[in-house]
Amino acid sequence: MLRYVLRRLLEAIPVMLVIITGTFFMQRFVPGGPFTAEKAVTPEVQRNLEAYYHLNDPLWKQYVDYLWDLTPKRFHPLALTDGLDLKEAFGIDFRPSFKYPNRTVNEIIADKLPVSLELGMISLGVALVIGLPLGILAAVRRNSWIDYICSSVAMTGICVPTFVLGPVLVLGFAIHLGWFNASGWYGPIDRVLPSLTLGSVYAAYIARLTRGGFLEVLNQDFIRTARAKGASESRVIFRHALRGGLLPVVSFLGPAVAGILTGSFVIETIFQIPGLGREFVNSAFNRDYTLILGTVILYAGFIIVLNLVVDVVQVWMNPKLKFE
């Protein structure tokens, strides 16, 4: 297994390189730049600005310089416990942001990622707590009214987008009932509405996938054998069917967790949460070259790692698979 993980990590290097190269050059070919503003700057000022940010160097040189700044140069993972500073820990320097000159991209990530992680974790918890029982219940009581209710709830969850659900929750619970703030990220109580909003969408998917996975497993011979041997219904479900039934959920969770952890632009905007999702989207609108690259690289890293985790977990859960 170690060999398999190492090989996958090595394979990730060229993937990352392609992503970085693609992003680096694509953003430069988009019209407008970080200093494009409604009020034009004078040519002298424009020249001064470009010199200040080394944007007047040849593009290839800027690319090579940037790659060098990104290359890990040390290994002190313990430094990460003292704030998520990738420069301190690995010598990875994402450089200062163009839009927010007094913050480096490393700092922005270190500030915002924990917020997105917190929101993501809670939402994921909400999603699993709601989604799994709904899905299992629906599968076990297939084609009964319980199934229809569970499936309808799940379908509604998929269909109602977060930008509708969020404001509706705020309208009901914050404005009419006055139980919560309309927006903000101050006390623990401010976590409730956003994680409910974000979690419910994932809960809906998880419920659908769980139901599907379970139905497939419950039809298989080994389940019939277990029942024939007189195993109780709960033993059949939790002992025999659970592992196989959750396989589709696990493969869904890989990319979903990457998305949920790097933040949700819509949720963060509705609830004014200082997370990474807004930076990710807004950096593109702002042509904040370094912040675009930083967030893209982080997101790509998450996806690569989480997909790897999913693959490992799947081999563990599914006896038909092996590390190869």
């Binding site: 988009v30 019209p31 407008g32 494009t36 503003a37 409604e38 009020k39 034009a40 700057v41 004078t42 040519p43 002298e44 000022v45 001064n48 600005l49 010199a51 200040y52 200062p96 927010y100 000159p101 007094n102 913050r103 922005i108 500030d111 915002k112 930008f163 509708v164 969020g166 404001p167 509706v168 705020v170 309208l171 914050a174 404005i175 009419h176 009932l177 006055g178 139980w179 703030n181 309309a182 927006s183 903000g184 990220w185 101050y186 006390g187 632009f265 819509v266 905007t269 509705i270 609830f271 004014q272 949460i273 200082p274 997370g275 807004r278 989207v281 807004n282 609108f285 702002n286 042509r287």
Partner: protein
């Protein structure tokens, strides 16, 4: 001033369930967070996360709102009409030729850390903003000062030759290249002229390094009524009273909190739950509901800005002034303001804002649709026949940009028989298209930095970087130059009258309407008067419980 606008606002305004929450606004008791707040705290929506708080590098309105609380200027703005009143300078003299300004600083001025604030701080600040290596966007504001442009371009390296002198710690002398009659107004309203704490900045790195850590909470040293207490990006900025401010006795607020909320729906919901006392902006679709249910909370203030369309005069058919004028005359501005904008805007029949600093343009787009049709026929396109395909470019940042474009498209079709296609582009793409001349007609807006007719008229000078029309008129340039040399106001305004007349005749732009600033404000916020620039000196503001 830049209108801070971004696609996300538009995108979300469209999507974030405005429709679901529109209409009735029920009122409930505020949640605990709001009720527990101390009395003299002002909580403001502030649109976007500020780029920085260094008055010499920032540009947008959200930054301005915070910088106004933190930094004081030589000359302050009156809270009612923003006319210059003594600030850090208790008095000043202007030489008879209008070329030398001598400011006398108050005794005992100091920074928020207690260090004395002297005339030399101003000189060092201006050296910093003009240093080529510092690349400050607003350095051009100083180009009226002797030697400033040359120093900023690097052709002059000795700062002693730039027109700033400090004969003693309390006297600052500014020597100009040409009389600049609006200089005091500019100093009163533009933070680029504020002194920055150079000694503090130097502790955090080279003076010419942008974004050193001096602007962070705990480091930032200010000169205004407030000092920085907390800055959590994308969450809030808190400023508290500065005991070292020279006029600290007048300041009544204990604390101001700025919330960077970029979505107007969110902002309005926070206002309703009592989390905000003031919003930054307001949703047009909620105007009617507020007018009906909470007229005391809705504010519609005049705003010194104009919404207009640019013509690219290098592209046919708009090389012909008659065609431009026909398009300008065929727009029904009253209808636009009444049925599309609905926010109390004033129709614009000329470029200059009527009544700014005692100036009102006499020139006016007149003749209406009949004249428009006649001009179009005279130019060789009767009833619009023979015109090449025409495209109108706009940015969808604000939802009303689209509505305005669609309304005008319909007016041109009905009144001129011309079919115009609409194109929208993402904010920076749109700016790039406009700045590189890849357009025929494009939406534009301009908000004044200071209250003087010059702000709108100087744009159309030949070679002005903001003149995206590429229109050029030697007579116009001559008049602008002459106006700046004029030492008395009536002579200067006479030049402006002629310039406005040229703009109405030649129509490089289509003036559409003058902006209003709409926002929601709790009635408890007092000492907050409508000012043309939407600037509200905080030292006069207080909460009436």
């Amino acid at each position: 001033m830049i209108i801070r606008s971004s696609l996300r606002a538009a995108f979300l305004a469209l999507t974030l369930g405005g429709a679901f929450l529109g209409g009735g606004c029920s009122r409930r008791s505020a949640p605990a967070a709001a009720a527990a707040a101390p009395a003299q705290v002002l909580r403001m929506g502030n649109s976007a996360e500020p780029q920085d708080l260094d008055p010499q590098t920032v540009q947008g309105v959200p930054e301005l709102n915070i910088v106004l609380a933190l930094f004081d200027s030589l000359v302050e703005a009156d809270p009612h009409d923003l006319h210059p009143v003594p600030g850090q300078a208790e008095s000043w003299e202007i030489s008879p030729d209008g070329l030398t300004y001598t400011f006398h600083l108050r005794a005992g001025l100091s920074w928020s850390n207690g260090e004395p604030l002297t005339a030399d701080d101003f000189i060092q600040s201006y050296r910093r903003i003009l240093a080529p290596a510092f690349a400050a966007e607003y350095s051009y504001l100083f180009y009226y000062v002797k030697g400033a442009k040359e120093f900023n371009e690097g052709t002059l390296t000795d700062f002693a030759q730039v027109g700033f002198r400090a004969p003693d710690a309390r006297t600052l002398v500014v020597s100009l290249k040409q009389p600049t009659p609006f200089l005091l107004k500019e100093i009163a309203c533009h933070y680029a002229w504020d002194a920055v704490p150079v000694k503090t900045i130097a502790r955090f790195g080279p003076l010419e390094q942008k974004g050193s850590h001096w602007t962070r909470a705990g480091n930032l040293v200010s000169s205004g009524p407030f000092q920085l207490k907390d800055w959590t990006p994308n969450k809030r900025i808190i400023v508290v009273r500065n005991p070292h401010y020279w006029d600290a006795g007048r300041v009544r607020l204990d604390q101001i909190e700025f919330y960077p909320i970029d979505d107007q729906n969110v902002e309005e919901r926070m206002f309703r739950t009592g989390q905000l006392d003031l919003t930054y902006d307001f949703l047009p679709n909620k105007l009617d509901a507020y007018r009906r249910d909470h007229p005391d909370e809705l504010r519609v203030d005049p705003w010194l800005g104009i919404y207009y369309y640019n013509f690219n005069v290098t592209r046919p058919p708009f090389t012909d002034a008659r065609v431009r004028r026909a398009f300008a005359l065929a727009v029904d501005r009253e209808e636009l303001v009444r049925d599309v904008m609905r926010g109390g805007q004033t129709p614009a029949y000329a470029v200059s804002y009527p009544g700014v600093s005692g100036y009102a343009p006499r020139a006016r787009l007149e003749g209406g649709v009949a004249e428009a049709r006649r001009l179009l026929a005279e130019a060789g396109y009767p009833e619009g026949r023979g015109l090449p395909p025409i495209e109108l470019l706009y940015n969808p940042n604000q939802e009303y940009n689209r509505s305005v474009a669609e309304a005008i498209q319909a007016m041109w079709r009905k009144n001129l028989g011309v079919a115009v296609a609409l194109t929208n582009q993402e904010w920076k793409v749109y700016l790039d298209s406009m700045q590189t001349g890849h357009y025929q007609i494009a939406r534009a807006g301009w908000i004044a930095d200071y209250a003087d007719p010059n702000v709108f008229l100087e744009i159309y000078a030949t070679g002005n970087g903001n003149n995206y029309t590429k229109w050029s008129n030697p007579e116009y340039d001559r008049l602008l130059h002459q106006a700046l040399l004029a030492t008395d106001e009536s002579a200067r305004y006479a030049c402006y009258q002629q310039m406005d007349a040229i703009l109405v005749r030649e129509c490089p732009v289509i003036p559409l309407f003058y902006y209003t600033k709409t926002y929601a404000k709790k009635p408890s916020v007092q000492g907050w008067w409508p000012t043309l620039l939407d600037e509200h000196p905080y030292k006069y503001v207080y909460i009436q419980n």
